[in-house]
């Protein structure tokens, strides 16, 4: 638990273009503005340095990958130090020849690197060909382990992880003070209005449920805007925004639109988690001796 139980969180929802430095510079402006308003923690969206290149499978995007530390890490570290804010960023990581990850990186207010999280659940469906680009995370110690910072233990997860209650639960058991989901999700333009609405509602609902079942605040940061499919094979993706910050009862504290760039801010009081765990003590009653089949693929 952080020393200070109340922190101010900022979630930066933005559009992205192909030029990395341009995207990073725009993020920097928004980080600066959030810090000026008192943000302790800034969460950027998934792969904020680039267009969402996973719409198709091509060799070209691999040129965007970089090591950690590397240019994006240095840039974010400098921002964190300059504006004295904890930053959670995202890097298309080249770990070694032929091994690439979708990786979140965390820098403390003094610019120091506090840790990384390599996306564990990798999606792959039309428009989201992530299994081509990213090796799933293979953390040596605890796979789902929060990253300790001066403003609390950050339960950093990424996008597709949000559909897995197992990931949120493991982060909570490992002592996370807050769950963070940098994300890039959007609509297939061939789907009708009702299907789009069901998908968006499902996305919000499932992340709110992680707050509820674990009594933890949740910050979900999604990209926004239309991005074309560079192959022209599809109509591209309309990233649906709707970034939000939720309290530990799943209550929405702040939520962005589905079309605009926006920086959300909210105050989070970590001490509420402990209180809620006394009011509705879910952790007390877990039937761990009967959960064994959770570790099976199929029964």
């Amino acid at each position: 638990m952080a020393k200070n139980t109340v922190i101010t969180v900022a979630a930066i929802q933005q559009t992205c273009q192909s030029q990395k430095q341009h995207n990073l510079n725009r993020s920097k402006d928004k980080i600066k503005a959030a810090a000026a308003k008192g943000a302790d923690l800034v969460v950027l969206q998934e792969l904020h340095g680039t267009a969402y290149f996973c719409q198709s499978e091509s060799l070209t995007p691999f040129d965007l990958a970089e090591p950690i530390p590397g240019p994006t890490s240095h840039f974010l570290s400098a921002c964190a130090k300059e504006y004295q804010v904890v930053i959670v960023g995202s890097v298309f990581e080249k770990r070694s020849s032929g091994v690439y990850h979708n990786t979140a990186v965390v820098f403390d207010k003094d610019g120091s690197f506090k840790g990384l999280y390599r996306k564990m659940h990798i999606p792959d469906d039309p428009g989201f060909h992530e299994k081509y680009y990213f090796t799933p995370g293979d953390h040596d110690n605890i796979a789902f382990s929060p990253i300790a910072t001066s403003i609390g233990k950050l339960g950093v997860l990424v996008c597709w992880d949000q559909w897995y209650p197992e990931a949120a639960r493991l982060m909570a058991l490992a002592g996370a003070d807050i769950l963070l989901y940098p994300t890039a999700i959007g609509w297939d333009l061939n789907d009708n209005h009702d299907e789009k609405q069901r998908q968006l509602d499902a996305w919000i609902t499932v992340q709110r449920s992680h707050a509820i079942t674990n009594h933890l605040p949740v910050v979900s940061v999604n990209r926004v805007g239309h991005e074309a499919d560079s192959t022209g094979a599809t109509k591209g993706i309309q990233f649906w925004g709707n970034s939000f910050i939720s309290g530990p009862q799943g209550e929405i504290l702040s939520q962005a639109s589905d079309a605009e760039e926006e920086t959300l801010m909210a105050q989070i009081d970590y001490s509420r988690s402990n209180t809620l765990r006394q009011i509705w003590p879910f952790f007390r009653d877990r039937r761990i001796e009967a959960y064994g089949n959770i570790l099976k693929r199929s029964l």
Copy 2:
């Protein structure tokens, strides 16, 4: 998977009084009406035969307990046969001297007993002293195992179970076609409006999330109305109703009010679950080798 992929579900939200036969007779009328409208499956609320006696700890309620089979089972079996509907009911079960359970029972359309589920997660907090009355379920085989009927495999869980994504996941892995939550939850009248709303929203959200993460329809049936605390120590509980039926994307198909008796009905198409598991294939990507700590109480 059931032969017929489309079924009609009815959820009976009702008030309860102290006299068991009176409650059962009222349920019977509602079952009859639902069957007349084409229900294949009727789900009754938790402990529908009695007032919610767990508001306080007293010897008296133990007289309400009964074996399975026993009077309530016989009554429900006869209803199922008479109206040719699958019934999920609830019994305060006396299993042996000193061993009582909060148990769901399932009868098929021919009145045959198909199985039972003894509530695995038992709550205990002010107004809900269930640990005094109920031994947690200790199923010999798979703890969370769906009950096979002529209209599908029913993933029967009870009330407090609904806060545990592990329970829903285990039922899904074990082949459930649908998740059912007979429930008795309500407001502490000392809580303010905002807190009441957060609790209700959390309750709906968490159950919708089980639909979403497992691509399964969900039926949640709650009691409604105020019940006094027989000891007079508290203001009693205002059971908040809001029973609902959700499709496998977490979309609400039908929802009851917070104050009235109501029988919800909706059509469920089991085949959508399989389709959704192809569109958003969460089950494909579970990182079971990294989930081991889920089986721990605390890290």
